[in-house]
């Protein structure tokens, strides 16, 4: 008996009492094909990769300390989208890149690029509101897992910013140059901040 049939027969035996999410959860036993499709469905063109790298560097530029590119953030972003996000986010991220491509982002000068990113950030405020309303509506809906597959993903800017900051501030270059890195504090003390004191990172 195939797993799918086994699951169905168990469901029947128990009086078909399973909720939709439960059946979906049980379906995970056999869901190898879904994870594979989500793993390989997301890929970027060379131009798109260049945009990702440039925007990451605009968010965290090289200053006296390393920037996003120095810390390997662009490749981290692509890897994270592949590994940790599903189709809705793949779509919204690709849409955001498309918009930038249409506006000839790569041929702009630095001032124009910064202005465009400011606009993207501004627009994302409204997109985030729409996204949050959608998430709230899904709530504990019986079909929330199915709905989630069709739902709109997190907006491009939110993904880009979150992954850039995560990639940078948890990288060895980012941590050691941005913070006071104390892997073994050895004590716990309530203290007063000194002027311009960096955050502790652990």
């Amino acid at each position: 008996m195939k797993r799918r049939d086994a699951i169905k027969s168990v469901a029947l035996m128990l009086g078909g009492a399973f909720s939709a999410p439960t059946l979906l959860a049980m379906g995970r036993w056999e869901k190898g094909e879904i994870s594979e499709s989500s793993l390989f469905a997301f890929s970027l063109t060379d131009n798109q990769k260049r945009i990702v790298a440039e925007v990451a560097e605009i968010i965290i530029p090289r200053t006296a300390t390393p920037g996003a590119i120095d810390a390997g953030v662009p490749a981290f972003i692509v890897m994270m989208l592949q590994d940790c996000y599903k189709t809705p986010e793949h779509k919204s991220f690709a849409e955001g890149l498309d918009e930038l491509e249409k506006k000839q982002f790569l041929t702009m000068n630095n001032v124009q690029k910064t202005e465009l990113i400011k606009q993207v950030e501004k627009d994302s405020v409204e997109q985030m509101k729409v996204y949050q309303v959608q998430q709230t509506k899904m709530g504990d809906n019986e079909d929330r897992e199915q709905m989630a597959v069709q739902a709109k993903g997190l907006p491009y800017w939110r993904l880009m910013k979150e992954l850039t900051l995560l990639g940078y501030f948890t990288s060895e270059e980012g941590i050691k140059s941005s913070f006071d890195y104390v892997p073994i504090p050895g004590k716990l003390e309530m203290i007063k901040l000194k002027p311009n004191q960096k955050s502790f990172a652990y």
């Binding site: 168990v10 035996m13 128990l14 009492a17 399973f18 909720s19 999410p21 439960t22 959860a25 049980m26 995970r28 036993w29 869901k31 879904i34 994870s35 793993l39 605009i58 968010i59 965290i60 530029p61 200053t63 890897m79 994270m80 590994d83 940790c84 996000y85 910064t114 990113i117 709530g139 504990d140 929330r144 939110r158 910013k161 979150e162 900051l165 995560l166 990639g167 948890t170 990288s171 060895e172 941590i175 941005s178 104390v182 892997p183 073994i184 504090p185 050895g186 004590k187 716990l188 003390e189 309530m190 203290i191 007063k192 901040l193 004191q197 960096k198 955050s199 502790f200 990172a201 652990y202």
Partner: protein, 571 residues
Amino acid sequence: MNLNLKADKERTFDAIVVGSGMTGGMAAKELTERGLQVLMIERGREVKHIEDYDTAMKGPWEFEHRGKVSIHSAEEYWANSRFGTLANEETGEFFTDDKKNPYIEKRPFDWIRAYHTGGKSMHWGRQSYRMNKKDFEANAKDGIAIDWPIRYEDLEPWYTHVEKFVGISGQAEGWDVLPDGHYLPAMPMSAPELHFREKMMKKLNRPVTIGRIANLTKPQPWHTDLGRASCQYRSKCARGCPYGAYYSSLSGSIPAARKTNKLTVLHDTIASEIIYDEKTKKARGVRVIKQNTMAVEEFFAKIVFLNAGSMNTAALLLNSKSSRFPTGLGNDSDQVGRNIMDHHLGVGASATVEGFENDYIFGQRPNALYIPRFRNWGTDKKDFLRGYGYQGGASKSDWKRGITMNGFGADFKAEMSQPGTWTMGFGGFGEILPDPSNRMFLDKEKKDKWGIPMIVFDAAFGENELTMRKDMMASAVEMLEAAGFKNVAGYNRLDTHPGLGIHDMGTARMGKDPKSSVLNKFNQVHDCKNVFVTDGAAMVSSSCVNPSITYMAMTARSADYAVKELKKQNL
């Protein structure tokens, strides 16, 4: 014949302990220290203290996904990942792959497991509170389920006994609702937390204390004797502590049991059945299946302690059928597997704190504040039964605040390297009432890969819990507002299910009457007195406090009794 006799002798111990987690470890320690030869059976792989804590000393950049759960991992750990991200790259080693160990949900149940040495004691939240006097009287008073066969006074000396051994940092406060135990020095509160505590007392008359936590702030000789050192304030406990600073079976009870030279541990060994002897009316031992080779073996002992975790302990009882116990060992009352309780959570509030700009913390406190139950306590009366406690605290925001704020570029980058404002939040842990229709049972047809019937869950929160949750959110909002904090936002996550508190309990409850309970007041199975159940399965009501220290106290008490009964030749 001689060979067989010899083989049987090698398979015979004074006691068998099924499980190596929080209570299995304690049972092994207490029994070996009283002179018994103990066999401990652990279904999962062996984890060696310190040397197998692979992620303990890694820097954040050494985790590929930096703490996020990948889609692939979320599918493997689907029950773990449905709500939270505990089973991530840092700590996933100490959680169980749900895909390889499936279970059936008639109604959703978030079953979080830990199949390895130390079980869930490897990743527990370490919060350690005694149940209070009224907790033990609550069922009788409310007319809910059945009465506890014991009272606070029965457990009191055993709480003391295990608290000293475990090592709990906390503050004695003298409150009836949260009886004091034996504590190592308390961890400090931050400036906004001290402010919050003062406001709560003045404005709402609600006490706040620092969490009582099983991390060593000042190790005592019996801790250092086991190689345990002081907390280093890294707050990476769930990866396994190379200093042995937080209590687990691996840092505490198993080394203590090993010191007696009376402990044998078998890993990768799944207890499938308790062998019942119809003539002596006692258990003879335990049948096991080696998880990797599928080999079936039997081990024998005078007494058997079941500490497999509430759900697996109940499953083992249900799967142990005999002519005397056709529906499972000790299941005359049909209560095995029923009355599943847990603590419901995912409800609370958070806020931003103005002021305290110059206050900061050096080190990471692996602990939070605790606000003990105030509902239906004293003169307070609500439209639900029982109550809840809150855990939470204040923290100074770090670079993550940048994700939701506007800005990018050089100035933004510099700003993110400095601490931001304080935020404060806390979430509730609510008592769940026992309900016989909240249950797990064995599937009649479907078996796991070892041929053991699969577990089916059929449980959900009841009206009392759902009503309580509304109050849990509202009171959290009320308290943060009363403290003068801003942007107060309540939450009540509805996508949580029983099990998520990882305090699943109640499936083989104690009681005075064998007709309505599985265990007597010393945790012995009614009518099979040499089988003891001392994990969460024994619980009659759930209280709202974190249960591990109660399970451990119960285990120590029961082990002491078992050895005395053995000496009197009553077992």
